[in-house]
Symmetry: none
Subunit: 180 residues, 4 copies
C-alpha cells in the first residue's frame, strides 16, 4: 500500500531521510530531497514531520532502533560455542560493507546529536545496548571494552577507503578478549 493513506508513510519518510543523510550528509538533508527519495509529495514530509528537526529526530530514532534490532538479532543467532572474536570481526565487516549506508547514516546522526541535546538520548541508547549485550556475554569490564572498541572500529573503518581484513579485526578483538 503506497497511496495517500499508507499508514507506513511516516516510516518510509524517516527511512528516506536516513538514505539522504548516508549519501549526502546531514547538511544536504532537505524536505525536498527526502520527498523525492521517499516518493511522496513534498507536503507529505512537512505534514508528518513539521520541522526539519523533527525529521532528523525521527531518522535518528529509526536508525538507532534498526541498529539495535539488528545487533540483538545478530547476538541471538550466534552459535552457543561461537568464537566471539571471529564473530565480532564478521559483525564489523558486515556493518561496513552490506550495512555501510546504514552505518554511515548512524554516525552522521550521532554527530548531529552532539549539538542537539534532545537527540542525545537516542544516540546514547545504541551505546548502552551494545555494552549491555557484550557484558552479558563476558563481564562488565570486557563488555564495555568490546563495545567501545566496536564503536571506534566502525567509525574508523567507514572513514577509511580500505576495508580492514577479517584477520586484523579478529586479532584486535581476540586481544581485547584476552584478559577475561
Amino acid at each position: 500500500m503506497r497511496g495517500p493513506n499508507d499508514p507506513d508513510r511516516p516510516n518510509r519518510i524517516a527511512r528516506a531521510a536516513i538514505t539522504v543523510v548516508a549519501e549526502h550528509g546531514i547538511e544536504a538533508l532537505t524536505h525536498r530531497k527526502v520527498a523525492a527519495v521517499a516518493g511522496v509529495p513534498l507536503g507529505s514530509t512537512t505534514y508528518h514531520f513539521a520541522t526539519l528537526d523533527d525529521l532528523v529526530a525521527a531518522a535518528l530514532d529509526e536508525a538507532a532502533e534498526r541498529s539495535v534490532t539488528q545487533l540483538r538479532s545478530w547476538d541471538q543467532n550466534l552459535e552457543p560455542d561461537v568464537d566471539l572474536a571471529a564473530a565480532l570481526a564478521d559483525f564489523v565487516l558486515a556493518s561496513i560493507t552490506e550495512q555501510r549506508e546504514h552505518t554511515i547514516a548512524e554516525y552522521n546522526l550521532y554527530a548531529v546529536a552532539l549539538h542537539r541535546p534532545h537527540l542525545r538520548q537516542a544516540a546514547a541508547a545504541w551505546d548502552s545496548a551494545l555494552a549491555e549485550l557484550f557484558i552479558a556475554r563476558t563481564d562488565p569490564l570486557t563488555g564495555q571494552l568490546i563495545a567501545t572498541l566496536t564503536c571506534g572500529l566502525l567509525m574508523q573503518a567507514v572513514l577509511n577507503d580500505e576495508t580492514p581484513t577479517h584477520a586484523e579485526l579478529e586479532a584486535l578483538f581476540r586481544r581485547a578478549l584476552a584478559g577475561s
Copy 2:
C-alpha cells in the same frame, strides 16, 4: 596584527569555522557566521576560501592538525616511567572537558568527511597518528587497540551528558594494555 593584511587571517577564519561547527553543527556553517565569529568582513571569507567546501576542508585540516600537534605534545611530555593507563585516562578526560569544543568539532568534521572523499585523507591522518604513537609506546596490536579504543571512548563520552570517571577510564585502558 588584525587588519586587512594580517597574514594569519586564513587561519583565523578556519579556526572560527571550527567554533561554528562545534557550536551549531556543520549544517549551520555559513560564510556569514564564520565572518562574524572571526571578526572579519564577509568578503574576507570568500576571498580566502572561494567556496564553502574549501572552508570546510580548511577547517578539517586545521582541526586535524591541531589535534595531532596536541597529541604529540602530550606524548612527549609524558614522564618516562608513566603509568600509561592513567595517562590515557587523563588524556580522554581533558579531551572531553577543556578540549570539549574541539573534540566535538572534530567528530562533526569527520562526519562530513564520510561523504566527501577528498576530505577523508585529513580525517584518516588523525587516526593514523594516534595509532602510530601508541604503537611506538607498546606494540602494533596493542597500539592499534588503544588508538581505536580512544577513538570510541571520545565519541561515546562526548555524546553522553555524564562524564565518565577517571577510574572507569583507567580501568578500561589498563584492561586493554593487560595482554601486552
Copy 3:
C-alpha cells in the same frame, strides 16, 4: 451545546475570527488559528465558510452587527435628560477600554473593506447607524458631525498608548455640540 451539531457554530467561528484579527491583525487570520480559538475542528471552519474570504466577510458582518447593537442599546439606555457630551465621552472611553479588542478588530476589518468592494456595505452600515442615531438626538448637521468625530476619536485613541481623559473627550464633544 458545543458538539458537532451546535447551531451556533458559525457564529462562534466568526467571533473567533474577530478575536484573531484583534490580536494579530488581518494578515494573521488563518483557518487554523480561528479553529484553535473557537475550539472547533479545522474542517469545521472550511465547512461553514468555504473560503477565507467568506470568513472575513462573516467576521466583518458580525463585528458591525455587534457594534450597532451595542450602540443602540447604549442609546436606549440613556437617561432622558442626559448630558450628551458626557455620555459620548463615556461611550468612547468604554470603546477603547473594555471594548478595546472589539474596536481594534473593527478598524482592522474596515481596513480590509477598503479594497474589497463587496465588504464595504457592511462597513458603511456602522457609519450610517452611528450618524442616524446622533441625528435623531440632535439635527442632521450636528449628528453627522458627532458621528464622524466619534469615528475619528476611536481610531486615534485606539492607536495611542495613552488613553485620553474623560474631561478631554467631554470638552471635544461639548464643543461640537455647542452650535446646535
Copy 4:
C-alpha cells in the same frame, strides 16, 4: 538612475510597498509583489528590508512622512485670508480623489500599527502633526476637533463608494469652526 547601485532603491521599494498595500491590502503585501511593482529583483527587497516587518515599517514611515509633508505644504500655501472651512473641504476632497491611493494605504498601515506597538509611534505622529497645525490656525480645542474630524472624514470617505460633495464637507467644517 535605476541600476543596481541606485541609492534611491530603498525608497523606491518602500513606495512600491505603499502601492501594493493601497491596491490589495496589507494581507497581500509580499516581497514578491513589491519587487514586481518596484521593478527590482526579489533579492533586493529582502536585502534592503530583511523581514516583512521591516518593509511594513518602512512603508508606514514613508507614508506618514509624505502625508505630513503634503499637509504642511497645503497649510503654507493657504491664502492669508482663506475661508478655512472651504479650504478643509478642498483638502479632504483631494485626499480621497487624487490622493486616494495614498490615503487608503495610510489607513491600512494604521490598522497594522494597531497590533504592532513599535509602529504606533509613526502612526501617532501624523495625528499629532494634524492637530498641531490646526491648533496653530485656531485654538487648542477647535484645532483638535478639526483634526479628529478630518481623520474620521477621511476614513469614512474612502470607505464609501460615493464621494461626499464639497458643500457637505464645507458645512461640517463650518459647523465645527462655528464656536471658535
